[in-house]
Amino acid sequence: MLAGCLLAALWLEPVLRVGVLRQWRRLLLTLLPVVLVFGCWDLAAVAAGHWHYDWAQLVGVRLPGGLPLEELLFFIVIPVCAILGFEAVRKVLGRRVLGRRVLGRRVLGRRVLGWGAPHRRAASEDRCGR
């Protein structure tokens, strides 16, 4: 199933040239805190009895702390898929915006797509307010 998720998203890298896997350092730096924080959540949830795993349906490799190997893979695969999807959406949206030139690349690039510096935007909004 995890392999299926990865396959469903990996084609975005070569087809849309999102360049996510090429930025492997940025990807690793993103994954590290996510794996740590959500891995701890998972450990705490198992400890608190919120959920448990049916070991008969898992490959059976236990990580330190008692989590199944699949959980670690899950916290790597899902973020990678999310980032691939997000960059693909940004690319397609950006392309459409540039094609139509509705509000111009600068405005849509910053405001809608979330690129650029937020504080600069806040400053310009202040000026408009006055």
Binding site: W41, H50, D54, Q57, I78, C81, L93
Partner: protein, 97 residues
Amino acid sequence: MTYTAAVALGVAGALLLDLLVLRTRLVVGLAFWCTYPIILAFQLAANGVLTGRGVVRYDPAAITGAHLVYAPIEDIGFGFALVLTTLSIWVWLGRRR
């Protein structure tokens, strides 16, 4: 603490990270909301299989009891927090360079 409470905290934490800590403000932009429904659809499908087959089982006392495609409704919040946190850090790291 129940899973429901933990999810509420997790979602609040992710929103805080996006809006105030890293100030990536993805939740007020279009790109995130175009991406999230796609991820949610895949989540419901994959999570539905995992919970439907009983690979992961939940303590009925820790959840509200509302389910969506076999999975407790709380899983939506868990996934949202995971995806928002990931994308927020990713975008923040991209800006720093």
